[in-house]
Symmetry: C2
């Protein structure tokens, strides 16, 4: 599938009226620590608190009237569940969200708060897919995958488009990688709007399927992920992997304590709340300081949805 | 002492090159909860993390060359200590900070980080003043009071000046009150630049000397303050009190749990880090919703310096 410059521009125009153009912040002190100039694209300030809003909206806005009547469905226990619920609510259509029965109460509450209908299932992949198929069959809802979907990927790419629009001469853009929707979209945006900007990902060592997949040249699914970065537990998909393979320079893996201390640095110095997954990108820069020395680097802060009652510090 | 419109404009021009023009943020959800339109002036994003930078700079920038040679001194265990240390550092002069020996290590570290020289004393007012006098005598440093000083008051007023410049038709501006420097400066700014805007303060019930002073019509010192809002423990001074008495409409007292839940609301919904003292102003609006219904309200978020290892949630 070829995604063109025009596809991305259309995507941005389509979702622009419904999203925030999030600010880009810098911190002198963090620049000093990194030995580079960092520009943080603050998707933690995006509607519902994460970049996922962009992709969910792009998909929902392209449904036919017929499809809209029956609503949308997905399986997710994370930010995409909330994003799809809110995007659907904004379009006045129904959202069916399949969530494992052991999902945190705070996440279920958030989805319900945005008007999503939760269908619980057992906490395994098979139950999840069976339940989703049943929901789709019974309701006629359109299934939208949280990241392995070209419309979703293009939507996520608009964050980097805005970053490039404001800072034309970035040497690097760094994003975290989980399922790869944000990373693939970011890499597409750089390819089309700033071809000299290299795209790199940060990934937790405890969930390094993307790094492994690039190493082996084939899709290696994530098994038994262990990381505080709860937005990065999933495996790459067959749509995100080839784009990442083609367009991303490298993946930098970071330890758990590096993620927590990068997160704390952002909280303490920038006075903004980001989730652990967001801190993975900064942790990657701090891990390979020599590579980034003196460079201009855009960093996508993916989101700010954390449970304040359960912080790592 | 009459402080004129011109005094305030000169103050703003004096400090402008050295401070951040902090952003003003809004949250649809918090507006819905409050039933009013709230504009948050984010001094948590100010240099060193609080509005105190404004007053400290204004005072430091007006020292004579002779005075600069000997440096500045203050007693404070809070944000003013850090602000004065940083303002002095920016002007390449010495800052002597008298701090009680039981002050939290994190605060001492911050002052040292900005190049301030800490002189420890016993944790009582007498020791504090004796030690400060000794420092001033030995070094020739100029003593700057954290809030009971007209230059400091004018500096603090510039936050409200910027708020009014961006939002001309505010019905109210709400600030927290501790020693009264921010509140007096805010009230002066409103009087001169938006006379129809009423200024109100939020104050913790457990440190309500300003409320009591207004009730009795005389300065009542704070004894034994008990509140999580650690920036608001001090008493009004003989310079701040008359200004507040003349220019502030009322003081709304709030309970500890109201402060914590307002703080949590700001963290969760705006994804920004504010200290408990900042949340007192929002808590005041939520406490008297009927009064503020449908109004346009500027809220000064005073700062964002919190100990992440010791949060109230």
């Amino acid at each position: 599938m070829h995604i063109s410059k025009e596809n991305l521009l259309e995507t941005h125009n389509r979702i622009k009226p419904y999203i925030h153009r999030t600010p880009i912040l810098s911190s002198n002190l963090i620049n000093e620590i990194a030995g580079a100039q960092l520009y943080f694209k603050c998707e933690n300030f995006q509607k519902m608190g994460a970049f996922k809003m962009r992709g969910a909206l792009n998909a929902v806005l392209q449904l036919s009237d017929e499809q809209k009547k029956c609503g949308v469905a997905t399986h997710s226990s994370g930010n995409f569940a909330q994003a799809l619920a809110l995007a659907a609510k904004m379009q006045n259509i129904k959202a069916y969200i399949v969530m494992p029965e052991n999902a945190p109460e705070v996440k279920k509450k958030a989805v319900k708060g945005y008007g999503g209908k939760i269908i619980e299932c057992e906490a395994n992949l098979e139950a999840r897919e069976t339940t989703l198929n049943k929901v789709v069959e019974e309701t006629g809802a359109t299934f939208l995958h949280p990241y392995n979907d070209y419309q979703v990927i293009q939507g996520q790419g608009t964050a980097a488009m805005e970053l490039i629009e404001d800072y034309a001469d970035l040497d690097f853009i760094i994003a975290p990688v989980g399922g790869g929707g944000l990373l693939a979209g970011t890499a597409l945006a750089a390819r089309h709007f700033s071809p000299k900007t290299k795209v790199i990902a940060g990934e937790p060592l405890g969930a390094d399927d993307a790094w492994q997949s690039l190493e082996k040249g084939e899709l290696i699914p994530q098994t038994n992920p262990k990381t505080i970065a709860d937005g990065l537990l999933t495996s790459l998909g067959d749509k995100t992997f080839p784009l990442i393979q083609e367009l991303v320079e490298k993946i930098i893996r970071v330890e758990e304590d590096e993620i927590v201390s990068a997160m704390r640095l952002i909280w303490e110095r920038m006075k903004i709340i980001v989730e652990p997954s967001s801190a993975v990108a900064l942790a990657a820069v701090l891990k390979e300081k020599d590579k980034f020395k003196g460079k201009k680097i855009g960093i996508i802060l993916s989101g700010g949805n954390v449970d304040l009652g359960n912080l790592p510090f």
